[in-house]
């Protein structure tokens, strides 16, 4: 997929294995990590109508991603590919302490 302004859009899918879903601690870790990248990063619960800014902790919490749901990630910008890989890894490894 090509985006005229920013070049390629990278995407990823990952299952939320955290026992209580996307609650405060994982949401903080996810947004902190997202902010380390220049890329515009959006996430949503698979199939949800709206994409959400991965750098907004309030919106990530409001997404109410339940335990076991699949999170879709897309990013565009210079470091988009690395951003998607890092976020997928964070969620897949269940938000380890010390990450982000």
């Amino acid at each position: 997929m090509l985006d005229k302004a920013d070049g390629q859009i990278f995407t990823g899918n990952v299952r939320l294995v955290h026992a209580v879903g996307m609650h405060a601690r994982p949401a903080v870790k996810l947004t902190k990590l997202a902010k380390k990248f220049q890329a515009q990063i959006s996430v949503r619960v698979a199939g949800a109508p709206e994409w959400i800014n991965a750098k907004s902790v309030a919106k990530i919490m409001a997404m109410r991603a339940a335990h076991g749901s699949t999170i879709e990630i897309k990013a565009s910008g210079s470091d988009a590919e690395a951003a998607v890989a890092a976020l997928v890894d964070l969620v897949a490894s269940d938000f380890p302490d010390g990450a982000a």
Binding site: R15, V17, A19, V20, G21, H23, A24, R25, A27, V28, T31, K32, K35, N53, K55, S56, V57, A58, K59, M61, A62, R64, H67, G68
Partner: protein, 539 residues
């Protein structure tokens, strides 16, 4: 009564156990001071400064509190750094709103959204948002607020208390927390448990008056202006709690309980994954009973395989090498589940419940068995069926399970058949115990006693008859334990009897060497066994 009339008593929900006796301190949300709004630019600058200051204050609090408290406060800092959230507030200032009004209305919207959420977890987070809202509003209004001065041992009473307010209070002299609303899963409740501060929530309406308070975190009661008699009874409860807690906790850390030279395995019962957060749970020899009905509660549909697998896997990961016994759905009886259990049974306790129901609904049962078969490769899993009457039922369940394992393996999915056991709660099963080819037995003493004594356990009028130490009940327990010993099959007991110190001597004398209790009872039961083994009485 000596000390005058008894004062009023209120009951709530336990958030943190312990006792506090001291002056009642009402803490209310700051009075709405007025502030003069400036120009658009001044307002925007005022908010920017207030956010920076709040961020610094919270970071300081987090640094001094450390640990779990620091992680809780991190969420508030992240909100202050949320550009989407903050930009919307600046936009609202740009439309002419004063800084405090713009800030408050945006935060209030978020809080309302959290409060409207279906799950208790998100609802509980709304008090973190309210905490942040009030901190910034106070800064904007120039009344940044002195730390709360709580007299030593004081009982703090508020509608709800945000975590940062809790951390500002000096709890070194003891004290307690009585909240009219609040939740046992709130961050402030986690902090109170970590600090050992008694806390009771959801007390409802309490009159503003009251000088002295007695807070009992165990009984979840608050008594105001108590009589001398109330104080005497309260202090007695506090003292016995303190004594038994202190010695029990010391015993808890010792490796294993033993009695007459034999190891007594102490396992825990859990209702849901979160129960493992109990600080004492780590000292258990394993999980003797994980109920799975929580997966059926509070939802419109039945849980899918993945949801179930994740829950089982989380518990197995927690347990490491230790055994985890998961009981398949025990719905029916007094636990109806829409879309699963049968309606209109005249006598549901003697109806289609437990394994009977699962065998009648193989479509639903298969989903659970698939999740369990996949979880079995992840740890030391055992699976038991509830409410088994005849050996044929066990074999029917085993066949379903084995077929599922075979199909999973054929599809290349890691799965295996775990050890299979049964609950012994139907008298017929206890009497014909040798007919069951089970890998282990777990005695469900609540239902066993109810069926043997022909007493509905929910009928208060029968309480005097509902004696689990009735010789008939003990006879069945002893038979089961005896069979286990001879057949080399482990037998445990996971009903309320195991957690009742008065019943423990009888259970040991019946030949049981494995007991499974709620995490909160672990210390006391270990202490009880210790006393029995050193020749003492249970007291």
């Amino acid at each position: 009564m000596q000390g005058g009339a008894a004062g009023p008593a209120y009951r709530g929900r336990t958030a943190s156990i312990g006792f506090a006796h001291g002056p009642l301190v009402r803490v209310d949300a700051g009075a709405g001071g007025e502030r003069a709004a400036g120009t658009l630019v001044e307002e925007a600058l005022a908010l920017r400064k207030a956010i920076d200051l709040a961020s610094g204050q919270i970071a300081d609090l987090a640094a001094s509190a450390g640990g779990e408290a620091a992680q809780i406060l991190e969420f508030q800092v992240a909100l202050l750094e949320d550009e989407d959230l903050i930009e919307a507030i600046f936009a609202s200032i740009g439309e002419g709103r004063p800084a405090d009004v713009a800030w408050r209305s945006t935060l209030d919207e978020q809080i309302a959204e959290y409060n409207a959420a279906a799950d208790e977890y998100l609802q509980a987070r709304s008090s973190d948002l309210a905490d942040l809202r009030d901190r910034v509003v106070h800064i904007l209004r120039g009344d940044a607020g002195e730390p709360l001065k709580i007299p030593s041992g004081g009982v703090v009473c508020a509608d709800d208390l945000p975590p940062s307010r809790f951390l500002e209070i000096d709890w070194s002299g003891g004290g307690g927390l009585a909240l009219l609303h609040g939740s046992p899963t709130s961050h402030v409740a986690m902090l109170a448990r970590a600090r050992g501060i008694p806390m009771v929530v959801q007390l409802g309406a309490i009159p503003a008056a009251g000088a002295t308070a007695l807070l009992d975190g165990e009984g979840a009661t608050l008594e105001l202006d108590p009589s001398a008699e109330q104080v005497r009874v309260f202090e007695k409860r506090r003292e016995s709690h303190r004594k038994s807690r202190a010695s029990a906790r010391a015993i808890l850390r010792r490796p294993t309980a033993s009695w007459r030279g034999e190891h007594i395995k102490l396992l825990i019962n859990i209702q849901r994954v979160d129960d493992l957060d109990d600080a004492d749970a780590q000292y258990a020899d394993g999980i003797g009973l994980m109920r799975t009905e929580f997966l059926l509660a509070g939802r419109n549909d039945l849980p899918d395989e993945e949801t179930q697998f994740q829950a089982y896997d989380a518990v197995l990961r927690w347990a490491g090498q230790r055994p985890v016994t998961i009981r398949t759905f025990d719905a029916g009886g007094d636990k109806p589940v829409p879309g699963f259990t049968f309606d209109g049974e005249a006598n549901p306790f003697l109806g289609v419940r437990g394994l009977r129901l699962c065998l009648a609904r193989p479509d639903i049962f298969a989903v659970q068995l698939r999740a369990l078969a996949r979880a079995a490769v992840r740890g030391n899993l055992k699976v038991m069926f509830p409410m088994v009457t005849s050996a044929d039922e066990l074999e029917a369940g085993r066949k379903l399970f084995a077929d599922i394992v075979q199909r999973l393996q054929a599809d290349g999915i890691a799965a295996m058949l775990p050890e299979l056991g049964i609950m012994v709660e139907v008298p017929a099963a206890a009497l014909a115990i040798s007919s069951f080819k089970a890998s282990f037995f777990s005695i469900g003493s609540n239902d066993l006693a109810q069926y043997v004594l022909a007493c509905d356990r929910s009928n208060g009028a029968l309480a005097p008859l509902m004696d689990p130490l009735h010789p008939a009940v003990l006879e069945l327990i002893a038979r089961t334990a005896d069979h286990g010993r001879r057949a080399g099959v482990s037998v445990s007991l996971c009903g309320d009897m195991a957690g009742d110190p008065r019943c423990v001597p009888a259970l040991l004398n019946c030949g049981l060497r494995e007991l499974s209790v709620n995490p909160s009872a672990l210390a006391q039961i270990k202490q009880t066994i210790d006393r029995l083994s050193s020749g003492g009485s249970v007291g």
